[in-house]
Structure formats: C-alpha cells, structure tokens
C-alpha cells in the first residue's frame, strides 16, 4: 500500500499557488499534517481525495496515476472534508444508506456496516432523527461514519475533531490509532495535541511547501535541550518576548511561567522536556527565517 505525491502543485486563478513542488511518500500509519491557516493543507487533501486536480506533478496510488484512473483510489477512499453538508430531511441512517449506495456497497453489507458505525460514533440513539436538527458535533460524527463506510485503505480526515466534545475527541483519536495498522490515515489539523496523540509521522507544511517530514520523535529530538522555562514578573514579559521565541506563557500566583525555545539558557531558566508544539513552532520559525528545519 503506497501513496506517492510527486512535485504536486496547485495554482488558483492562474496566479496564486496554494501548493508548490510538494513531494511525499506515504506507507500505512497516521500522517499528521500540521501547518498554520492557509498553509495548503486543505488543498493537498482535496487533491488526494480526487476532489480537485493538481496543476502540476503527479499523485499515484499503488503505482496508478490518479489523473489516469481516479477510481482506483476512490473505491478504497474514505474522506471527511473540513466543510461538508448533509441533507436535512434525511436521518443519519438514511444519509449513510444513500452514501453507501453512491460508494457502491451492496445493501446487506451497508446495513450491517451502518449499524456498527452509528453505534461507533454514538449516534445509534438518534439515528432516526432528521439531520437538520443535529448539532455541529453530531454532524461531524455522521461525517466520520460516512468516511468509514467502505472500510477505506486511505482515510483522509480534514480537521476531524472540530466541534467534538473532549470525550468524542479522545475516542476519535483512539480510533485513528487503531485503524492505522492496516491503512494510510492522513490527519490534517492545527491542533497539535491531536497529532501528538495519534501520528506515526508528521508533515509540517507552510506557504504551500513541505517544511519537514519526520517521525514525532525525530522532530522532538531536534529541539532537545533547547526548551527552557522560568518565572518572570508580568512587567518583564514584553521584554522577554522581544528577546526569545516564546512557545507558551502561563500566569500563576508567583508570576508568569515563560516557556521559550533558545540555543542557550536564558538567565534563571531551567531546561524542560520539549513537546511537539515546541517542535512545530521551532520548525515553522526556522523555515520563515530561512533556516532549514
């Protein structure tokens, strides 16, 4: 199982490049796609989901070029877009039955699968309620269920935890981890903790370019010994921000706990264990200042 992205680019209106010379080789596992807003994550997802065509480059699924035969991928694709709609008059069961038919699942299999999925996403109790009355989080769970209808080999989920409550968020993260063994999962998000919990690989993307592609441990090892924390009075916070790359601040009774990424220890600072958020901020910052990550 292999998804290959070779020098892919996407240009909108003949002028704006949302993605440029993007290359990536994917094997089974969860790829966390991280990047700031407007980095090109959704564009990349749309290309991989065969929703939009790349302006340049090539995407192949198990050696088959998507431009030549997109159905080779669509048959095994599960896609949860960032923004999607539902038919308000249908209930969850009927909506999933419709999409199962569109995806080509036979009736008996789809019925069994839908029952399982509705129970999986905790919508079994409300499966007969029209979707028009669903909350944002409930619709999102319907979206998750439809993405899993055809037992996909490639699962693409764009901001999947948006609108989910903490419990559902954790449950979904666990699901992604459980699914990843035998399939490729691409998880696009800007919530670093979601990636931290599930990803076996991380791709950092900014301004339509690949900034870094590595295992989370590799990214963390790059900033090992460069993350510091100490307490400063509130009045000094601005001065600290001028001098250091601040990754977090937290106000406590003894002052402001400042977490920074720096080569050398600031006066009075103690080294701390880096998080993926530190690694993400560091990699982006280095990319923006022109230093390779």
């Amino acid at each position: 199982m292999n998804l290959s992205i070779e020098n892919v680019g996407k240009c909108y209106g003949g002028r704006v490049w949302a993605l440029r010379r993007f290359s990536l080789e994917l094997k089974p596992g969860v790829l966390g796609l991280l990047g700031p807003n407007g980095a090109g994550k959704t564009t990349l997802m749309s290309i991989l989901a065969t929703i939009t065509r790349a302006s340049e480059g090539k995407v192949t699924w198990n050696g088959t070029d998507l431009a030549a035969d997109p159905n080779a991928l669509r048959a095994v694709l599960g896609y949860l877009p960032q923004d999607f709609g539902v038919y308000p008059n249908l209930n969850a069961q009927e909506f999933l039955e419709y999409l199962a038919a569109v995806k080509g699942l036979d009736a008996a299999t789809s019925r069994r699968r839908i029952d399982q999925l509705l129970s999986l996403v905790n919508l079994a109790d409300v499966s007969r309620r029209p979707l028009g009355g669903f909350s944002g989080g409930m619709k999102q769970r319907v979206g998750i269920a439809q993405a899993l209808l055809n037992d996909p080999q490639l699962l693409i989920v764009d901001e999947p935890t948006a609108g989910l409550d903490p419990e559902e968020r954790v449950r979904f993260r666990n699901l992604l981890s459980d699914l990843s063994g035998e399939r490729i999962v691409i998880l696009s998000t800007h919530i670093v903790s979601d990636v931290e919990a599930t990803a076996t690989d991380i791709a950092l993307i900014s301004n339509g370019a690949l900034v870094a592609h590595a295992a989370p441990e590799d990214l963390l090892s790059r900033i090992e010994g460069r993350v510091w924390e100490w307490v400063v009075p509130s009045a000094d916070l601005n001065a600290v921000k001028q001098c250091y790359r601040v990754s977090n601040t937290m106000r406590r009774s003894d002052g402001v706990h400042v977490r920074v990424i720096a080569q050398d220890a600031p006066p009075g600072a103690q080294p701390v264990v880096p998080t993926l958020e530190d690694a993400y901020l560091d990699a982006l910052s280095l990319y923006r200042t022109g230093t390779a990550a």
């Binding site: 065509r53 877009p81 923004d83 038919y87 308000p88 249908l90 968020r169 954790v170």
Partner: protein, 534 residues
C-alpha cells in the same frame, strides 16, 4: 445620520457581493439580450396594425414597458435569495447580534435587491439610446422623453419586485421552490389586475385604473390612443406587447407620455407598496434564529450524554470503550456497484420529506388520468400530474451544491457514470408514476403516437431539471422556467412548446427527443468539469 450610514453599508455590501459573482454578468447579459431582442424588432409593441416612429418617445416607452413587463418576472428570480445567502454564509448570525432592527434589515435587503434590478434598468436605458440612434428614424434625442418611462414605469415596478422577493423569503411557505412557482402566478395576477380595468373602460379610464397598473401597459395605451385616433379613427383599442409577432405595417408619430399628477402619483405609489412589503417582511423575518431556521426538529428531546470537560477523565472513558473494537472489516465482495440500488437511493432522497397529502394528491392525479375521459386526461389532468412534482425535479443536479455534499458524493467511485444517471432515472420514474395513469390509457387505446409523446415528455422533464440544476447549481432556474413553460406552452397546447406531447395537434415528440438528448449531453459535460477527475 448614523442609521443612514449603516443602511448604506448594508446595501453596498449586498450589492458588491452580487456584482462580483459570475451570475451577475449572466443577469446583465440577459438584460442586454432583452434589449437586443427589442432593438432587433423581435419584441413588438403595436396598436392594431400600427407602431410608432422610432423616436425618443416610442423607444423609451417600448424599453420601459419591456422592462416593467418581462424583467419584473425574471428579476424576482434573480434577486430572491439574499436572506438565504446571509443564512448559509452565517453572516446573518453576526448581523443578528448587532443592534440592527428587523425592519431596518428587510428594508436594506429590499434596497440591495433594487440596486441589482436598477442595474438591469440601466442596461435597458443604454439599449434604448443605442436603439434610437441606430434605427435612425428620428435621431433627435429628448433625454427626459426617452428615459422617463424607464424611470417612472420600470423602476417603481422593480422596487416592488425587490421588496416582494424579500417578503417571499421571510414567509416559511414561500421561501423555497413553492414561492418560485407562486411568483409566476402572482405576477400574472398583477399583470391582469392592471389590464382588466383598461379592458373594461376602453380608453376612458378612471383614476383608480392608474393605481392598479403594475407595468404601465394600460396607462401607455391611454396615452397613445388619442394621437392614433387622429391618424386612424377606426382604431379598435387593441394594444399588445408581444414576442415574435409579425411587425405592424403602419407607423404613426407619437411624441411621448403627457405626465399628470395622478399618473406620477400612481407610479410613485409602487415605491410605497414596496416599502410596505419590506416592512411586512420584517414581521415574519426570524432574525436568523437557528431554532426557527430548522423547520424540521425532533419531536423528542435529543439524548444528550453528560459533557466531559476534563480531558484526562475523557481519556479514561474512551480507553474503556475502544471504537474500533466494534468495527468488522468488509469482505471484498461487498462492493457491487449495483446501479439499481443507487437509483432506489436517489428516489428515496428525492421523495424524502414529502407529507402524506403530497402522495395523496399524486395518487389522486394518477387515478384522475386513469379515470377521466381520454381527451380530458391527455389535455388536462396530465398537466396537473406533471406540475405537481416540480419541487422534486427541481432538486436534481443542484442538490450537491445546495447542501454542500459535493465533496462526499463526488469522491465516490464512478460518480459521473453512476450517480448522475441514477438521479436522472429517479426523476423519470417520478414522471412516469405521476403521469402513469395516462400512459396506461394510451397503451390500452393503442395510441402509439400519444404514448411516444408521453414517454419522451417523461424523459424530457427530468432532463431539463437536471441540466438546469447542474449548470446553475440552484433549483430556482428550473422552477421559474418550467412554470412559465408549463403555463405558456403545455397548458395552452402551443405547437412546439407543448412538451407533454399527448395532444396530437401540438405534439412534437421528435423535437423533444432531440432536446432531451442535448440536455443530457450538456448535463454530462458540465458535471464532468465539476468533477476534477471524471
């Protein structure tokens, strides 16, 4: 001062949102097309066998009446949807959280609609100018004479249409497809309501007649009558504004509308009606209350599980209940791509949400086709049977765009080759079922020509719906066009326009078979471009 500034920005934003869309260019193109049709003599205004010399007066009157008559019908469909846009873009919820009052909003929306329609009037004004200069029967330009019919006939009518579009959008029953169908009949009532007093009084109107006049047609006729009677005392008071009629053989000189206070007041009163409609709309406007937006609500309260705010607690809960433990892998043979089940799914989707009475009426029409005398069935009952499902057909092709499900549907395998034809077949099934009574009768009567016409019609209607839906991304276009076509062509059994094909004198199944094929081909091509990889 502050309120006027807010109003200005609301109208401006609304106007800019529309003019920066491709559909606005189509709107203007339609106005240019209408202007050209008038210029080219395809739209003819005549009194008996006379038309006026193409001077500022006649050209201005012609353009003014074309605008107030035809563009008011189309203009409604063009501008309706401004509140829905605020709803779908969620801008409405932001506006609802401001101190802006409901009447203020509906008046602003009406003004935004009016600005769009006024732009079309501007195009017609430019066309009038060109027409007079190029026709060159009288090159002396009298600007007021040329433009006053557009200003005093077209603009007030457009203002009323703009506000009624907002009113329709605020009324739950009329905000959807039913409103689009209802507008045609409301527009007809406005037209007839204006003309009827003129027909009754034959040239000697009372003042009240001016106030009933929506388009200005009868008012204009009163104005032209006297000069024509001087030329031809045998004038029979016939006045028409028609498309495609042979040009009149004689000309007469007409120098323009002699405006009097009553006439001007009658025209300006339409602005007052427009304001009244906008204010009436504010009573029904729900201010983007989500509870009111969702018409379909669960009868019972949803089963809510207690929210778990602490992530650590949530982790514990989730750990005890792994999701994937309940998912079984699918066997490879489960992907069968059965077209029949997809057609059934499309049909279910199409029929979903219909109340029992909808099926009762459809069943009644089926039985009516079956039980009525054959002539009545083929010329009357079938018309009702094939207008009844209009709101089902109008969803075809545009549903994915309207409900933003395109990314889900179009990423499925063979979406072009399977989903589009399946939806079409579902539409044909609806036509065949609702009009099935007549089909059965024609079969029993061995009327093969009638049966062929019936079968072609059952294919043509969903083809038209799907093509217009796919191209426009909206149900509105089909609802408007089909209603007008149904009334002008099918209901009057006009040769070439009667798509039902069941009445021998007006049936042209060959033509509609070709049209069906062309529509399906265009639909296919358009959907191909919508799918990145067809």
């Amino acid at each position: 001062m502050k309120r006027s500034r807010v109003l200005w920005h609301l109208v401006k934003a609304d106007f800019l949102t529309r003019v920066r869309r491709t559909s606005f260019l189509v709107t203007l193109a339609f106005a240019v097309f209408l202007g050209y049709q008038t210029f080219a003599g395809h739209i003819v205004m005549q009194l008996d066998d006379y038309r006026g010399v193409y001077n500022s007066a006649w050209v201005g009157a012609l353009m003014g009446l074309v605008t107030s008559s035809f563009l008011t019908l189309v203009g409604f469909y063009i501008v309706k949807g401004s509140i829905l846009r605020d709803e779908t873009t969620r801008v409405g919820q932001i506006l609802a959280a401001t101190p802006m009052s409901k009447p203020f909003y509906t008046v602003a929306k009406s003004l935004g609609n009016f600005a769009v329609l006024a732009a079309m009037v501007l195009v017609m004004a430019a066309a009038a100018l060109c027409m007079q200069l190029i026709r060159a029967e009288d090159r002396t330009l009298h600007l007021w004479t040329l433009l006053s019919p557009l200003l005093l006939y077209a603009l007030p009518s457009m203002a009323f249409v703009a506000a009624v579009a907002v009113l329709f959008e605020t009324l739950p029953v009329l905000r959807g497809g039913l409103g689009n169908v209802a507008w045609f009949f409301f527009w007809m009532a406005l037209l007839i309501g204006g003309i009827a007093p003129a027909m009754a009084h034959r040239g000697t109107p009372g003042n009240a007649a001016y106030f009933h006049d929506f388009t200005g047609l009868p008012t204009m006729m009163y104005q032209m009558r006297a000069p024509l009677l001087k030329v031809d005392p045998t004038f029979h008071d016939s006045f028409s504004l028609s498309i495609g009629s042979p040009p009149p053989r004689h000309r007469f000189l007409w120098t323009g509308v002699q405006w009097n206070a009553i006439e001007v007041a009658a025209r300006l009163l339409w602005f007052v009606w427009a304001l009244a409609a906008a204010l009436l709309a504010s009573i029904f406007f729900h201010r983007f209350d989500p509870a009111r937006e969702r018409l379909i609500r669960a009868r019972t309260a949803p089963v809510e599980r207690p929210a778990v705010e602490e992530l650590s607690a949530a982790k514990e809960l989730a750990r005890a209940d792994p999701w994937s433990a309940r998912l079984t892998p699918l066997p490879p043979a489960s992907m069968k791509n059965t077209f029949v089940s997809l057609v059934a799914a499309e049909l279910r989707l199409m029929l979903k949400g219909r109340q029992w009475w909808w099926y009762a009426v459809a069943g009644g029409l089926f039985i009516g086709c079956l039980a009525a005398p054959l002539d009545a069935s083929r010329s009357g009952v079938i018309l009702a049977a094939w207008i009844w499902p209009i709101l089902l057909w109008s969803q075809m092709g545009s549903r994915e765009s309207r409900y933003a499900t395109g990314s889900l549907v179009f990423s499925a395998p063979h979406a072009l080759q399977r989903q589009l034809p399946a939806a079409w077949v579902a539409g044909v099934i609806v036509a065949a079922l609702t009009g099935g009574g007549l089909g059965f009768r024609l079969l029993l009567a061995r009327d093969l020509h009638g049966l062929a016409g019936w079968a072609v019609a059952a294919c043509f209607i969903p083809s038209l719906a799907q093509a217009l839906g796919v191209w426009s991304g909206s149900s509105k276009f089909f609802e408007a066009l089909y209603t007008v076509w149904w009334y002008t062509g099918a209901a009057h059994h006009v040769l070439g326009l009667d798509y039902t094909g069941t009445v021998a004198t007006s049936s042209t199944p060959g033509l509609y078979l070709v049209l069906t094929a062309a529509l399906l081909a265009s639909c296919w091509m358009r959907r191909r471009t919508q799918l990145a990889y067809a």
